[in-house]
């Protein structure tokens, strides 16, 4: 009997792989198709420097997409991404200009970003503020704070090493991209291997059933928004390195790009669905479109239109497929 069971579970495992593969298959195919097309259609796409460029471009968006996927799995949303990135960018730039050691600046801004995430989660759980509203408020507050602190002006005079870091590579891969790799591995691990990950999906599927199964929902919700906040902080630091100054208007629209990438990668706004790899693939599609349209000399204004079209088509296909089941 036990032998029977084992063979059963083996069959099931392969079935499972096939199933999750399916959700992301479409988007992976889109990525491959675009890369093949651009490799043939342009001379410069498949060069080391351009690929490095794409990887640099995808990093911040990728981190945001992975973070917001975690939030979306709980059936939540986070609209404060771009504003928090800007606030962290301003604070970090200010600290560096004031001569604070880099490591200390990093610690402080990460703590602040995580704290902002806590505030989001706290109001969402404790006062049942809808995530859309709570994070919309944070979006407004963080952007206002960034403008207030900077006086609406860009902050210059950051150490050269900051800029060098973002243009540098390690093992031929841009430094920035390594952060995304670590974030993806961390998030996949968190979602797949830990009890916290199981609870995140359970809360996203049915908070009442989760509560009646003894899960501390507050801990899960607040934890999720804190992790998300931490990641926006990381994005803010990397953004600072990339633009080598503090810009209070930076990050505008990042939340929408992140949500689009997450949804492209198979996250469902109804909760309980989504993965870090999927979010990465979604972000990669968008970064490829931006990169490709520059190489193809397409009017840059087309980029957003193309992203919108791909988003609506992908989700429609996905909906049709689940409906059929």
């Amino acid at each position: 009997m036990s032998q029977n069971n084992e063979s059963l579970s083996l069959a099931e495992t392969s079935k499972k792989l096939k199933f999750t593969w399916n959700t992301q298959r479409v988007i992976l195919l889109v990525v491959i198709a675009m890369w093949v097309f651009l490799s043939i259609a342009t001379e410069n796409f498949l060069t080391l420097s351009n690929i490095q460029n794409v990887l640099r471009q995808v990093t911040i968006q990728g981190i945001n997409a992975v973070g917001v996927t975690l939030v979306i799995i709980t059936a939540g949303i986070d609209l404060s991404i771009g504003s928090v990135v800007a606030l962290i960018n301003i604070l970090f730039a200010l600290f560096l200009v004031k001569g604070l050691p880099i490591w200390l600046g990093i610690l402080i801004v990460l703590a602040i970003a995580t704290g902002l995430g806590f505030v989001n989660g706290f109001f969402i759980h404790q006062f049942r503020v809808p995530p859309f509203i709570a994070t919309l408020a944070m979006m407004s507050i963080a952007r206002g704070a960034a403008l207030l602190i900077s006086g609406g002006r860009n902050i210059f005079g950051l150490p050269r090493s900051i800029a060098n870091f973002s243009s540098g590579t390690f093992l031929g891969i841009p430094n920035l991209f390594w952060f995304l790799v670590v974030v993806i591995i961390f998030m996949e691990f968190l979602l797949r291997k830990t009890t916290f990950g199981r609870y995140v999906y359970a809360v996203g599927s049915n908070p009442e059933a989760a509560r009646l199964s003894g899960i501390n929902i507050g801990l899960v919700i607040i934890g999720v928004y804190m992790i998300a906040g931490f990641l926006w902080g990381l994005s803010g630091i990397l953004e600072t390195s990339r633009i080598w100054m503090g810009v209070p208007s930076t990050g505008t629209g990042y939340e929408l790009d992140a949500i689009a990438a997450a949804v492209l990668g198979g996250a469902s706004l109804m909760g309980a669905q989504g993965s870090a790899i999927g979010a990465f693939l979604g972000a990669l599609v968008m970064a490829t479109i931006y990169n490709g349209s520059v190489l193809l000399n397409i009017n840059p204004f087309w980029q957003r239109i193309i992203v919108g079209i791909i988003l609506i088509i992908t989700v429609s296909i996905d909906q049709m497929r689940t409906r059929k089941k």
Binding site: K15, K16, K193, S205, N206, A209, L212, S213, G214, I215
Partner: protein, 512 residues
Amino acid sequence: MKSENNFDNSVIMRNITKTFPGVVALSNVNFSIKKGEVRGLVGENGAGKSTLIKILTGAYTPDEGEIQIFGERFEALNPIISERMGIAVVYQDLMLASHLTVYENIFLGSEFAKFGLINKKAMIKKTEELLRSLQYDKIINPIDKVSNLSSAHKGMVAIAKALTKNAKVLILDEPTAVLAEKEINELFRVIKQLKNEGISIIYISHRLEEVFEICDTVTVLKDGKVVGHKKVEETTEDELITMMVGRDLKKEMFREREIGEEILRVENIKSGKVKNCSFSLRAGEIVGLYGLVGSGRTELARALFGAEPIEEGKIYLKGQEIKKLSPSRAIKKKMGFVPEERREHGLALKLTVKENINLPIYSRISKLGLVKTKEELKNTHNFIKSLSIKTPSIYQKVENLSGGNQQKVVLAKWLASESEVFILDEPTNGIDVGAKEEIYELINELASRKNAILFISSYIPELMSICDRILVMREGTIVGEVKRKDFSEERILSLAIKNKNNKVGVHQNESK
């Protein structure tokens, strides 16, 4: 309208038969009601009352039989014809749009409008007239939001809404379940007024004393058949109860077991509408809890598990008082809870069988927050096997399973967490016969392994076939207990239905 005058009856239903797969819901039912008659319709859960009503409102098509409404013949109705013929239902849960105002609700779908522009004034005026005719013009304002009204006033709005559609036959489905005494009298005043205007009223209620107060005649349904039709002056509550009960007992599921020590003791619990509840469960015991809709049985179950706050009273597990009860604490103390709404409260439908089964025990099968996947899989396979859960894979999403298998997944959760006290709220609700028997067997097995079980059900034969004793709830409190040797559907039902001061020859708990 022409033929109306020639007929005394507003509705005649002849030889109505309706079957669902595996069940005869109505068999050869004859039912008629005169103009200005108030007719009580009583029967146990599942006797066929709602099926009969649904045929009259056109929601269901009968397999056989014919319906005459004011002399016009129909083989089947649909909701539009039924409404046009003047049939209207006021449901217990009222079906009002609570964010809209009173007048918006009353004219929902039939707004006074010209070129799509709404004539608000005219509608408000008409609403005022309607409310005045019910003598509610000073009490309900047409521009109040429905969500701000009391249940009684919502009920009036629903009745007013029915009247705008020129209702001639008004069906009231358990209208008093959520009303206070005074509000019930108000409702009765309105019913009498409508009756005098020649409107026929079908009054469905479990509360027999109300039937005697307001109805002219009463029809008793049992197992889809009309078993009695009486004028209220010519019958008694006891006679009606005798007619309602006596259904064929299902297979006897009871097994002799050794009953051990007390595991759970509840003293004077108060939580929401639940008050003054005391009882105990012993190891190896299956205790039934019966009550009508609205009696507080589900609220009691949720309070026992810590899902609702307990305002007063004490809960002891194995002699130890548990303070600040919450679901997670209840689980730690080895309690398991199968909620009534399996899909809403019991399962994470979008997750897999594996994840659902292990949900309460992840903290146990993990180390430093990492899930021990081997144990997770082992558990899952064990319970799929021991409960014979039919699923193509352990990775199947629970939403794709049948009702019975979903329920087994919920039970598996509490087996996995090694519960010793099981609170089962309608565990066989909405699952097919075969799966039901499997669940009964499972419950028996749990009891024989020295677990204590509280089995809540609104179906008496089910409780009688498996329980050691049955507690009966009415109006938020436990009003009696019937031992296995004294089991009779009649006793249990009369405890649940009758007023506290009516003696029924069953020893009752001291009431306050």
